[in-house]
């Protein structure tokens, strides 16, 4: 220190503009502002967030304004796909669905009505329709004969295990189902058009798939959000009390958690559903009382760490009640991990709901959830794959978006943890 030479120019006053050289020009960020900034930089998380918002908004608002309700059904228009092969006879168009019904359509794909059947000619395996005087025949005898042949083969295969049915079945499935004839002339589709009346087709009762998927989304999302929220409340209270009170109470409470967590959860959700019956409320209750364990553990761990810190002591010496310390001092400080855990529980609740509905324990008809829509379509998905894969796509996209967003949120809250 003594060696420092003091020169007079060290004591000259600063120019005015030099005074601000060391000033922190950027606004200081709070922890949450920082998290927000990091989250915004994460492109994957932002895209997921946008996807989640779009799904939620669509599920909430579109059914309010859509002209068709989720339960209205027109049996004549059952099982109509998204794309339709249309045929032309004398300037009018028709579409044939999987059950060989003819439906009158316009050339751009608007459904008009089911065409009346003139004769069901079972003996010759054909249906006969009348189009403005022109006889139209739907001949399903080739397929019928192929099927009889296959069934004979199947009988043989029962006695002789060396016969492989896979190829025969495949050929049968991909054989041409019908021939449509106008008089003697074989008709071929003139065009492939979008279904204008039902943009995503109809299900086996003639209900609009589009609005059913959105309505199912409402149920699935409500289950996801409510279950996650209830888990959050129970978990925070239980874990908070165990961690804050400590000692014997903590010991007993955590033993209880250990015992419950040793039980395979999903089996108990199933059992609870069997006891309570089908419906949305039973699913929410069953999920709420079984999935809070991890949240309770997490909160207890956080509280154990935080309660030793000075700000809690300060609050205690100011005479704050336990309730106040818990809710105003401890909970805000562990909001980060809690939020990550809660956003991860939403997709897992949606997942479980889909699983339960698929096993036959979900909401009951005419209500729908994504899982029950898939379950309804299961019997016929080889013929009408869109009925199963559209709701399945909705589930997958939503769960993926939630998962990626919660990953992003975790990274934003705790950049050190990033791997």
């Amino acid at each position: 220190m003594e060696n420092i030479k003091m020169s007079p120019d060290m004591w000259t006053p600063l120019e005015k503009h030099e005074k601000d050289a060391e000033k922190v020009s950027r606004q200081s960020l709070t922890f949450w502002q920082d998290v927000k900034r990091r989250l915004k930089e994460n492109k994957v998380a932002m895209v997921s967030l946008v996807a989640i918002v779009i799904v939620i908004l669509a599920c909430v608002f579109v059914p309010m304004f859509y002209p068709i309700t989720f339960e209205s059904q027109i049996l004549d228009f059952a099982n109509i796909g998204i794309m339709m092969d249309i045929y032309e006879v004398d300037g009018s168009y028709f579409y044939m669905n999987g059950e060989y019904y003819l439906i009158d359509v316009t050339s751009d794909g608007t459904l008009l009505k089911k065409h009346p059947l003139v004769k069901d000619d079972t003996a010759n395996k054909r249906y006969i329709y009348d189009f403005n005087g022109q006889e139209v025949i739907v001949d399903y005898s080739p397929y019928f004969n192929a099927k009889v042949e296959y069934m004979n083969l199947e009988k043989k295969a029962k006695k002789d295990p060396s016969i492989d049915l896979t190829e025969a079945k495949f050929n049968l499935d991909n054989a041409k189902k019908v021939e449509i004839k106008a008089g003697d002339e074989i008709l071929n589709p003139v065009d492939r058009v979008h279904n204008k009346t039902y943009i995503l087709g109809t299900d086996n009762l003639g209900r609009d798939m589009f609005i059913r998927i959105l309505h199912g989304g409402r149920i699935s999302l409500i289950v996801g959000f409510v279950a996650a929220f209830v888990n959050l409340i129970i978990g925070v209270l239980y874990g908070g009390i165990a961690g804050y009170v400590g000692g014997k109470a903590d010991n007993i409470m955590m033993r209880v958690v250990d015992v419950i967590s040793a039980i395979p959860t999903l089996l108990y959700v199933i059992l609870l559903m069997v006891v309570m019956g089908n419906g949305m409320m039973p699913i929410i209750i069953a999920l709420s009382i079984t999935y809070w364990l991890s949240m309770a553990r997490l909160v207890r761990g956080q509280v154990l760490g935080l309660k030793e810190q000075e700000f809690v002591l300060a609050a205690q010496s100011l005479g704050a009640s336990t309730k106040r310390i818990m809710l105003r001092h401890l909970v805000p400080n562990m909001m980060g991990p809690i939020m990550v855990s809660a956003t991860m529980q939403i997709p897992s609740a949606i997942f479980t709901e889909a699983f339960l509905s698929f096993v036959g324990l979900g909401v009951s008809a005419p209500q729908a959830s994504w899982g029950s829509l898939c379950n309804d379509a299961l019997l016929t998905y080889m013929t009408y794959p869109y009925q199963l894969f559209l709701p399945a796509l909705a589930i997958s996209i939503t769960i993926l978006a939630f998962n990626l967003f919660s990953d992003g949120l975790r990274d934003a809250l705790d950049p050190k943890q990033r791997k």
Binding site: A262, L272, A354, C374, F389, S396
Partner: protein
């Protein structure tokens, strides 16, 4: 260590007892009894049936009989199909489920660990990216979607596999793949993280500094430690395979215990549901117990007392 194992066994027994009791309480809280489900019986007949199954006794006595029967390996009878017992269902369905579960465990372990290692070694390169995307999808797409998609593509469109039943080895490809998808994704991620962690350890640098070949370093030094955390997942994996079997066996039309369980749920056959739940519960608890005990031998660093 012996003390830890004994403690672990005792706690497993307590858990099994807890599962049995909880199941009993839940199933007895359903309004009505098995008799009130079907056609109305004549009072004498109903009394006789109740006497046969001990339903006229007080609840606590029923509970004790239930505990006694179950501990002797008698998991009860169906109240809907005469002569059908839970033991029969387990004997019929379990071999199929065990076969599927066994093969998919093997598939998960080999493919999951393999792809996890590759993606750790090629961190942030194309193989890693691809595998991370695949494993994210595996954890996102429900197993029934995988199963139906698999059948739609490989049966309906390509005709490579049969659609229904469990005859040849071809029948098993789909179930084995689909049931394991979720766990496969998890094992891949777990292995990747764990290998990445281990590769940064000092002893790996030492091994490399000794001039060992990269292969020896990876296989002998890194993997032996990296795979320890993967072992802990084996317990939950068995549980996830069982729940997967409910869905996958239903889609593929295999008469395994999972699909028999879902059928009994649809039929609301309460005694069967109860028996199979307890059976699954015991199976999972024992599997977890075995994994925990194995862990003691695999990872001597951890002190158990």
């Amino acid at each position: 260590m012996a003390k830890y194992i004994v403690k672990r066994i005792i706690s497993a027994i307590i858990t099994i007892w807890f599962i049995m009791t909880l199941t009993f309480i839940l199933m007895n809280s359903i309004p009505g009894d098995p008799m009130s489900m079907g056609k109305a019986l004549q009072p004498e007949v109903e009394a006789a049936v109740k006497a046969k199954y001990g339903l006229d006794k007080p609840l606590i006595e029923q509970y004790l009989t239930y505990l006694k029967n179950y501990t002797h390996g008698d998991f009860g009878v169906s109240f809907q199909k005469i002569g059908l017992t839970t033991n029969r269902i387990i004997a019929d369905g379990f071999p199929y489920s065990l076969k599927i579960g066994g093969w998919s465990s093997l598939f998960i372990i080999v493919a999951g660990i393999g792809s996890g290692i590759i993606s750790a070694l090629k961190q942030n390169k194309i193989p890693d990216r691809v595998m991370m995307i695949v494993s994210t999808l595996g954890a996102t797409v429900p197993s029934f979607v995988f199963a139906t998609l698999f059948l739609y593509v490989f049966n309906r469109k390509l005709g490579w596999v049969p659609s229904f039943g469990a005859g040849t080895w071809k029948h098993y490809i789909g179930p084995v793949l689909c049931i394991g998808m979720f766990s496969l994704a998890y094992v891949t991620r777990l292995t990747r993280t764990s290998v990445l962690d281990v590769l940064q350890q000092d002893y790996i640098r030492t091994a490399r500094a000794k001039g060992l070949s990269e292969g020896v370093v990876i296989i002998k030094h890194a993997l032996r430690n990296a795979l320890i955390p993967v072992v802990t997942y084996l317990g939950p994996m068995i549980a996830s395979l069982i729940t997967g079997s409910f869905v996958v066996e239903k889609v593929f039309g295999i008469a395994g215990i999972g699909s028999l369980f879902t059928t009994s749920i649809t039929n609301r056959d309460y005694t069967l549901i109860m028996g199979i739940t307890v059976f699954f519960g015991i199976f999972i608890v024992i599997a977890t117990l075995i994994v925990d005990v194995l862990y003691v031998f695999i990872d001597p660093r951890i002190k158990y007392d």
